[in-house]
């Protein structure tokens, strides 16, 4: 059985100002796949992710979600298919942890709908999944950086999209939470015919948790392919402009700056 294509790009060109992020990019993200996006600072990883999420228009080409052009999908339907974990969280107003997770249910509710028992259960399950059970009544402003990050992930889990667009999801997380959360998320994706595209600065973590990668070299140059092939010392050295070493261990490759 051929797996479903959740998202595809067709000759996609993304530009920000005078900078070209990618040019004529074709890729297909299938259910069950875990994609990693790597590149140096300012190369446009976040911009690309936002374009895939439909938050900004591409310079050329198009993005399709489940075969339909993204621009033609109704917003709420799109939000049930794609969800974004932004790089930073903005908390201008005081809110409780539970209120914050519940906004993830927005695309699932009718216009006048109130969150029901099922939404509350979903929100609590998402909190438990990221290790924040019992934090429901806490104020968001009182959380640590890592706890706030996990709350962002819980909100995305409550949104329950088919494709998760993760912008540096392990920011602020300690090592145990990095491995634990990505591991549980990966298992969840597999079970639910979902997929993720994860922007990261950590090639080791990417090698461990992603099966396919997109390398952005800047100037529109990109490489797409299987993680075990593309994540080589040579490619990564060119990617970061710094020589890299690959050490193969029984838990997969480990990358270190030379």
């Amino acid at each position: 059985m051929a797996t479903e294509i959740l998202l595809s790009t067709h000759a996609l060109t993304v530009e920000v100002g005078a900078k070209r992020v990618c040019a004529g990019l074709d890729l297909e993200v299938r259910a069950g796949e875990r994609w990693g996006v790597l590149g140096g600072n300012g190369v446009g990883k976040t911009t690309l992710l936002h374009t895939l999420a439909g938050l900004r228009p591409p310079a050329a080409g198009e993005v399709r979600v489940l075969g339909e052009p993204l621009a033609r999908l109704p917003r709420k339907r799109l939000a049930r298919l794609l969800g974004l974990l932004p790089q930073d969280h903005e908390d201008a107003f005081p809110a409780s942890v539970l209120e914050t997770v519940l906004i993830g249910r927005h695309p699932h509710l009718g216009h006048w709908g109130w969150e029901g028992e099922a939404d509350l259960a979903c929100a609590r399950a998402a909190l438990a999944e990221v290790g924040l059970a019992g934090f429901e009544a806490r104020r968001v402003g009182s959380l640590s950086g890592g706890e706030r990050r996990r709350l962002g992930l819980a909100t995305l889990l409550a949104q329950a999209p088919r494709l998760l667009l993760l912008d540096e999801p392990t920011n602020h997380l300690d090592i145990a939470h990095q491995i634990g959360l990505l591991g549980r998320l990966a298992a969840r994706l597999e079970a639910g015919h979902r997929a993720w595209i994860m922007v990261s600065h950590d090639p080791t973590l990417t090698a461990r948790f992603c099966d396919r990668v997109l390398l952005l070299f800047g100037g529109g140059e990109a490489l797409v392919g299987p993680a075990d092939v593309l994540l080589s010392a040579g490619h990564l050295g060119r990617l970061y402009g710094h020589p890299m070493r690959r050490l193969d261990t029984d838990q997969g490759p480990v990358f270190a700056p030379a």
């Binding site: 936002h50 999420a53 938050l55 917003r75 709420k76 339907r77 799109l78 939000a79 049930r80 794609l82 969800g83 974004l84 932004p86 969280h89 903005e90 908390d91 201008a92 107003f93 005081p94 809110a95 409780s96 209120e99 914050t100 906004i103 993830g104 927005h106 695309p107 509710l109 216009h111 006048w112 109130w114 104020r139 402003g141 009182s142 909100t155 949104q159 667009l165």
Partner: protein, 323 residues
């Protein structure tokens, strides 16, 4: 949802109580007894005082306070700034220039209100046009544009005051501080408040999402730009309605949404109607105090709102740490 119903019931009761208190207070020892007599068909001069003097004034105060608090709640989400108030983008400054300019020109009565409304709408259009500029309509750019335009209005107000002859000066200063002694059309004010609330309520859940940032809101399926246009239009029109009714009454629009966020939480489905009820009640109470504390002398209601609001707000902030 049950908690929301309970909260709104309590606030509605507060609103009724504040209105009843406003009707029963005043010079000449006329109390609610005259109103009860009136309901039994007994006419009296006291009844006329209540129905023709106190009732329109109390209703105008309620409408003004409700519009200000609702406008403030919307403006705070629009600008992503809990310190925003209905006047921060220059609506009251424009209204003041319109009203004071006409006072200086010798106009009175209805013309002053028309001048205020015209100035408020002109300022609203000016700030929108300039802030929109070439595409990027960010909260920061909107806020800066509004603050600068408001500063410009402030300079013009100073100019008008310095040109004004002494006899007219007192009326102008009262207008600036917010004055409900001669409210035009209180029923129209209530209608604007009700319409504003009815238009804002369908946006309430989207506002909850927008409060967490535009990027998050957009990725959760909120049409951010149309929502922000709607917020700007609604908040500005409500503020314009309030200044037309009562001049620039300060503080209600800043403090009421803030107090409610601390007291009942940040869910706008509850916060918006609660702001309308609580802001209205607060201004009815403040205005009743303004006209009775040192009667027969009347105080501008804006000074009373600030005198009540400042300590209340500081007390709440002090008791609430760690946000």
């Amino acid at each position: 949802m049950r908690r929301a119903a309970l909260t709104l019931t309590l606030l509605a009761a507060l609103a009724c109580a504040s209105l009843a208190w406003a009707l029963s207070r005043g010079s000449a020892g006329i109390g609610l007894g005259a109103l009860l007599d009136g309901l039994r068909g007994i006419d009296s001069p006291a009844l006329a005082v209540i129905l023709e003097l106190r009732l329109p004034r109390a209703l105008a105060a309620f409408a003004t306070g409700g519009m200000l608090a609702l406008s403030g709640a919307l403006m705070q989400v629009l600008l992503r700034n809990p310190l925003a108030d209905p006047y921060v983008l220059g609506v009251s400054g424009g209204a003041a220039v319109g009203a004071l300019g006409l006072m200086l020109a010798g106009a009175s009565g209805w013309w002053i209100d028309a001048g205020a409304a015209g100035g408020a709408l002109a300022s609203m259009a000016l700030v929108f046009g300039i802030a929109h500029g070439r595409g990027a309509w960010t909260p920061l750019r909107l806020l800066l544009t509004g603050v600068i335009v408001a500063a410009g209005w402030g300079a013009l107000i100073g100019l008008l005051l310095s040109l004004a002859p002494d006899p007219g000066l007192r009326g102008m200063v009262f207008w600036l501080m917010g004055d409900l002694s001669t409210p035009p059309a209180p029923l129209a004010g209530l209608a604007v408040l009700a319409a504003g609330l009815l238009l804002a309520l369908p946006l309430a859940r989207a506002l909850n999402v927008l409060a967490h940032g535009e990027l998050t809101a957009a990725s959760l399926g909120v049409a951010v730009r149309p929502l922000r246009y709607a917020l700007y239009g609604l908040a500005s029109l409500l503020a314009a309605g309030a200044v037309t009714l009562a001049g620039s009454v300060g503080f209600v629009g800043l403090v009421t949404p803030h107090l409610l966020r601390l007291a009942i939480g940040a869910d706008h489905r509850l916060l918006l109607p609660a702001a309308a009820l609580a802001g209205g009640s607060l201004l009815v109470i403040a205005d009743t105090l303004a006209r009775t504390v040192i009667a027969p002398q009347q105080l501008p209601v804006g000074t009373v709102t600030a005198l009540i609001g400042v300590p209340l707000f500081l007390w709440l902030l002090h008791g609430r740490r760690g946000d």
